[in-house]
């Protein structure tokens, strides 16, 4: 045991918290079910969105160039970053050119993936995350545990503690209304004082060069309306071909993410505001490698709704931090190993292969099949420990010999019947810590079948 299993074990050890976490996310899954089941054409929307995304990523070079040309025509500066380091350098350079001291940032998993904040902070720039959940985890100096609900692992009492420490709210206060108002006042000061706004991008539209940012708090709008400099960081897979496809995705995104009919703010950006400056940083960071892989290409269709996390029975009971990856849950267990297979080799095994993620995914990524394919890949790359490969090798040999299999089964059943309980349920028996083994019958089915035939 190691990696995800070890951290999951620690999470489950606090039974009450694990149960609360599971129920909080299941509530979101139910909201998603209620609202998606109200749309009779839901499955058609999913299929269409899946096709549009696949089409786009398989013509990505063409659409990226179209997007760049159209964005530039609106006066946007377009930058290309092949990896996280280049992305961070580009953003820092732009900020330094404008002598920016304070930046407000709306939620962007891409900047989390690139670890932008520490890079900017090291250069003396203050970065304030303005999404409420992200601000909470930023103040607690920890990464988000969910891509849509970054602070879902934190209880309101703990938010009260961190706000008391940083924002001066009353000690012990945990009323959500009170805490939200305190955050609102605190963020308002930061919005007014900021020299630049950074946003992510939900959808880039190739035929117009515009892009769309979806938030529920309006923080992307405030963060870009007040300062004159707007930098939008965008993964290259975020493109859609044309605006007529947008409603398809906004309908699916909000319903899948939080069970809302639409996000509260769906903000369209088409070039800089008068007197302002707008930059788009297009980031690859491993995405073209995934694009080149037949098995994993479809993972690029992800619109980061988080529905696979909310539905995943393992994620709900192990928490986002147990994945030790920017994106946790089922999609993160595909993207993580694609980025660094050795570091994330246990993630494809943090899965019972139930397939709920695949059925919930609004763009029909075959998540659980990709996780299975990753297991094969991890074995091929020699990253699967001997303790996992050895029993499989032995079993495969036995299963090729029916006589040996029947004999082995008989011996095992006799042993199980004769051994005292303490010997069967020894500390090495991972099955038996919380579970009984089945009662071993005297005769196997094949024994009974032979008798019955006579």
């Amino acid at each position: 045991m190691g990696g995800h299993a070890q951290l999951a074990n620690q999470f489950v050890a606090n039974g009450e918290r694990a149960k609360w976490h599971d129920q909080a996310l299941w509530f979101v899954r139910q909201k998603r079910d209620n609202i998606s089941h109200a749309i009779p054409e839901w499955e058609t929307l999913r299929e269409t969105a899946s096709q549009v995304k696949l089409h786009t990523v398989t013509h990505l070079a063409q659409y990226l160039e179209e997007f760049e040309k159209n964005a530039q025509a609106m006066g946007v500066h377009v930058h290309w970053a092949s990896n996280a380091a280049e992305h961070n350098e580009i953003v820092l350079r732009i900020l330094q050119q404008h002598e920016v001291k304070r930046v407000v940032k709306s939620k962007s998993m891409l900047t989390e993936e690139c670890h932008l904040n520490p890079h900017l902070e090291a250069a003396g720039i203050e970065v304030v995350d303005t999404d409420l959940g992200e601000r909470i985890v930023q103040l607690r100096k920890e990464p988000p545990s969910h891509i849509v609900l970054p602070a879902i692992h934190i209880k309101k009492e703990e938010v009260g503690d961190v706000f008391h420490e940083h924002l001066g709210t009353d000690a012990g206060a945990s009323d959500p209304g009170y805490l939200t108002e305190a955050a609102r006042q605190h963020l308002r000061e930061n919005f007014l004082a900021a020299d630049a706004g950074i946003t992510g991008v939900n959808f880039g539209i190739a035929s117009t060069g515009g892009f769309v940012v979806c938030t529920n708090e309006g923080n992307a709008d405030l963060g870009t309306a007040l300062p004159n400099l707007h930098i939008a960081c965008m993964g290259i897979e975020k493109l859609i071909p044309a605006p007529e496809y947008l409603s398809l995705f906004t309908r699916l995104l909000a319903r899948s993410a939080t069970g809302q009919p639409i996000t509260t703010y769906t903000s369209h950006f088409h070039g800089p505001k008068p007197g302002g400056e707008m930059h788009i940083v297009l980031v690859d960071n491993g995405r073209s490698d995934i694009l080149g892989s037949d098995e994993f290409r479809r993972s690029l269709s992800c619109i980061r709704c988080g529905a696979c996390m909310n539905t995943c029975p393992v994620y709900r009971r192990s928490g986002g931090h147990s994945y030790q990856a920017t994106v946790p849950g089922p999609i993160g267990s595909i993207l993580g190993p694609a980025h660094n297979a050795a570091a994330h080799s246990t993630l494809p095994y943090a899965c019972s292969l139930c397939g709920s993620c695949t059925d919930v995914c609004p763009v029909k990524i075959d998540l659980h099949h990709q996780l299975l394919t990753w297991r094969k890949e991890i074995r091929v790359r020699g990253l699967l420990p001997f303790t996992k490969t050895f029993p499989m090798k032995v079993m495969a040999q036995v299963f090729q010999r029916p006589g040996l299999y029947a004999f082995g089964g008989k011996v095992a059943r006799i042993a199980l019947r004769l051994m005292p309980r303490w010997m069967i349920y020894n500390p090495l028996n991972g099955w038996g810590r919380q579970r009984d083994l089945p009662t071993a019958p005297r005769e196997s089915f094949r024994d009974l079948y032979k008798k019955r035939k006579k």
Binding site: D33, P313, C354, W374, M395, A396, P402, Q434, R435, F445
Partner: protein, 261 residues
């Protein structure tokens, strides 16, 4: 008379022989000429699901060869059938023999509803049944509509069970959440696996389940393992056992064949 090769998953063969017998009896009752080819062992799923594909390949090849003589192949397991139908193409190059094998292999309930077109199961089962939807049957074979997807409701196991006299169903809070078995997952991610299983059992307890059943004995092996450590364990039966007319034994684990054979 359909000539059926009975495909009995290895752990059912070894630990739940009565589930195999029940399957055999049900198929014979509906006029099938059933044979259990004894050369069969395991379909290779444990290896394939661990990523040990090379180890699974010879087992898949054996399966195709062993079941070649039969018109149909039927198993009391959605998971093992899903392995054959949905995942053998990941292991073996496409061939006529592979495609034939995949096309003729069925899970027991779907074989009864879709191939034999059975409308009525004779017999009485006067209990509130908690039907656990085993994931591979649900989301790989589509034996029922999953709660995530939108469309008309259907459920092949329930469709058969509800024709029995006296039967009723426990309505769960989470209709088809995974039990947490997941093959080697059950041991490698023991903490999460057991929490998932206990959550299922609690859902069944509050829904008033009197007998717990499922189309896959592997889910039930895990759930019953947890169940047996509870003060009042629920009786557990495979769907095939209910269809074959078995009645629950309430004192101990009814899935052990000792009582029923």
């Amino acid at each position: 008379m359909p000539r059926v090769g009975l495909f009995i998953p290895c752990y059912i063969d070894q630990f739940y022989p009565d589930v195999g017998l029940a399957t055999l009896e049900v198929l014979e009752r509906f006029g099938c000429d059933v044979e259990f080819p004894t050369a069969q062992t395991c379909c290779g799923q444990p290896m394939a699901n661990t990523g040990c594909t090379t180890e699974a390949v010879p087992l898949a090849e054996r399966m195709i060869e062993i079941f070649a003589p039969y018109e149909f192949v039927v198993a009391p397991s959605g998971s093992c059938v899903a392995m054959v139908r949905e995942h053998y193409t990941d292991l073996l190059p496409l061939s006529n023999s592979l495609q034939e094998f995949q096309a003729k292999t069925f899970e027991l309930c779907e074989f009864l509803t879709d191939v034999l077109k059975i409308k009525k199961i004779e017999g009485s089962f006067p209990y509130k049944v908690g039907l656990h939807q085993s994931c591979h049957g649900l989301r790989e074979l589509r034996l029922a509509r999953s709660s995530e997807t939108v469309g008309d409701n259907f459920n092949k196991a329930r469709q058969l069970l509800e024709t029995m006299e006296g039967i009723s169903f426990a309505e769960l809070n989470r209709a088809d959440e995974c039990c947490g078995f997941g093959g080697t997952f059950a041991v490698h991610e023991e903490a999460v696996s057991c929490m998932m299983g206990n959550d299922r059992l609690a859902d069944h307890a509050s829904a008033g389940t009197e007998v717990l059943t499922a189309g896959d004995m592997s889910c039930l092996m895990h759930l019953d393992g947890l169940n047996q450590r509870k003060p009042k364990p629920l009786p557990v039966l495979h769907v095939a056992q209910i269809l074959a007319g078995r009645q629950p034994v309430t004192s101990a684990s009814t899935t052990s064949s000792e009582e029923s054979v």
